[in-house]
């Protein structure tokens, strides 16, 4: 099964969008997960709900809200364009932003669970040995949360690969620019003789998703063994 140049473009675009989405999600997810797992503050439930909103809202609504906020005439969008020359609307970076937002709840959940499962007394023990809070985070919390971090990253990547609703609403469906695998499949299914071509991409999507899941399963198992020292 050899792929056409257009198909390659779509695949590379999808991988690129998913990669950027993951890169956006990882630090944001880690910070939010740590905050939710370890800190008590006013508005914690509200923040938690807000993060989970994309999971329960219709993706079209999320996409629309993104368009309102990050469109060229949106509040944030206009500001970013004027100050940094940064444009998200109808660009592949916008697709990545949409995918990141949609995947954020998965990332936060995975990392939060993993941080919450760490015995906090270990962090206290490290502090009594003279480790500053930052060092405790880097040398105790982070390594022990590594399995959750990995799960979150893979879930985010896979979710970003397949994101559809918010993406098409926010950045439209422009071949070579914002047309990812899912959007491409959708377009092909809309064309009269596109079924066969769509099937190729569908099989490819399934293969990518399966490979990612299998890889994560394997990595998490080995990482958990390493972290707990039971290997």
């Amino acid at each position: 099964m050899s792929l056409s140049p257009e198909e390659w473009t779509t695949i590379f675009l999808s991988l690129r969008v998913a990669l950027l989405a993951t890169l956006i999600c990882l630090p944001a997810g880690l910070a939010l997960a740590w905050l939710l797992a370890r800190k008590n503050f006013w508005g914690k439930s509200a923040l938690n709900s807000l993060i989970h909103l994309p999971l329960v809202l219709p993706p079209v609504v999320t996409g629309y809200l993104l368009l309102v906020a990050f469109g060229r005439r949106g509040v944030i969008g206009a500001f970013l364009e004027q100050t940094f020359g940064l444009v998200f609307a109808f660009r592949w970076t916008g697709a990545a932003l949409a995918a990141a937002l949609m995947a954020l709840p998965l990332m936060v959940r995975a990392i939060r669970l993993s941080i919450e499962s760490i015995d906090q007394r270990l962090e206290g023990a490290a502090a009594t040995l003279g480790a500053s809070p930052l060092r405790v985070f880097a040398t105790v919390t982070l390594p022990l949360a590594a399995p959750g971090l990995l799960v979150g990253t893979i879930l985010t990547y896979v979710k970003a690969l397949g994101e559809f609703g918010a993406t098409i609403t926010f950045v439209s469906n422009i071949p070579g620019q914002t047309q990812t695998l899912s959007l491409s499949i959708y377009s092909l299914l809309q064309t009269p003789d596109g079924d066969a071509a769509a099937l190729r991409l569908i099989l490819l999507s399934i293969a990518l998703a399966l490979a990612a899941l299998l890889a994560s399963e394997l990595c998490v198992k080995r990482l958990t063994q390493r972290v707990t020292g039971t290997a």
Partner: protein, 356 residues
Amino acid sequence: MIEISVKQSRPNFTLDVSVKLGHGITALFGASGAGKSSLLNLVAGLEQPDSGRIRIGSESLYDSKAKINLAVHKRRIGYVFQDALLLPHLSVRSNLRYGIKQGGMEFSSIVEFLGISALLDRRPATLSGGERQRVAIGRALLSAPRLMLMDEPLASLDMERKREIFPYIEQLQKKFGIPVILVSHAVEEVARLAQHVVVMRDGKVVAEGSPQAVMNLPDRHTSRFEKTSILTGKPASYDSTYGLTTLSHPAGNISLTGQFANGKTPVRIVVRATDVTLALGKPKDISARTMLKGMISKCEFDGSPIAIIHVKLEGGEELAAALTRKAIDQLGLDEGQAVWCLLKSVSIDERWIASS
């Protein structure tokens, strides 16, 4: 001098403690829930008091009036937890090196002292309980602490492992000059290790002093099975035919199974009140090898069929005996009366005592 004077209110529990501790090993003694571990956490900075102050020497770690609250990692206090709390993702070597201080104790000498050189490349999950505690002690030592806190470091270990750890705890103070605050609820542990005991109940200090003085205080809160006395004797001679050591005590010789022949250092033995028999005269035809002379100082009645008789032994130490009220009435025992206290040698657990 370590000065701890703190108040902490929590729902259903109030901690209110004010003690000054010296440089030896201090035991915090009491039932679970008395606030011993909370007190350690306050000293380490893992918990915050509502008010008060904590000082080591002239330095304040916490002072609510002066608004001082040193962060945990700046306090330089070693903490050995009951379950060791080694970092599971690091090797023994990395655990030991985690808090290592320049100019502190040398890595190799600590490893040798604790006999853990063969464990360095292992992971904590593969260590036995005793090994874990030794690594935890080493890890804390290498962080050059000015005070060592130990929260029931022996509680999860069996007798053999306990015996393996005792010497190391004793050496912390003797060899390294580090004061130790040890949480314990085992009298034998206190008798073996502590120079000073602080007895806690419901978040408050109820007694303080040497183990002999404090453990023998009349206390209606302990059941007769927990009632114990601590006696001090010097190993005087060893009888190799029978494997018995004689401890000399002002009130009479104490027979002890095993060899503890080191005339200089006195040893402490723990005697359960239920193991003590009282007699008005010195009996002859009896198997008990230890007979101590004293005078009844106090009879504690609580309305139950049992009473605790406190005997002031010759030389000043106190010994408690649990008797039935019937026995007391039939013998006509009363305060001020001279009595002989009979002990079965076999009832004294010599495993807690440092062997020479």
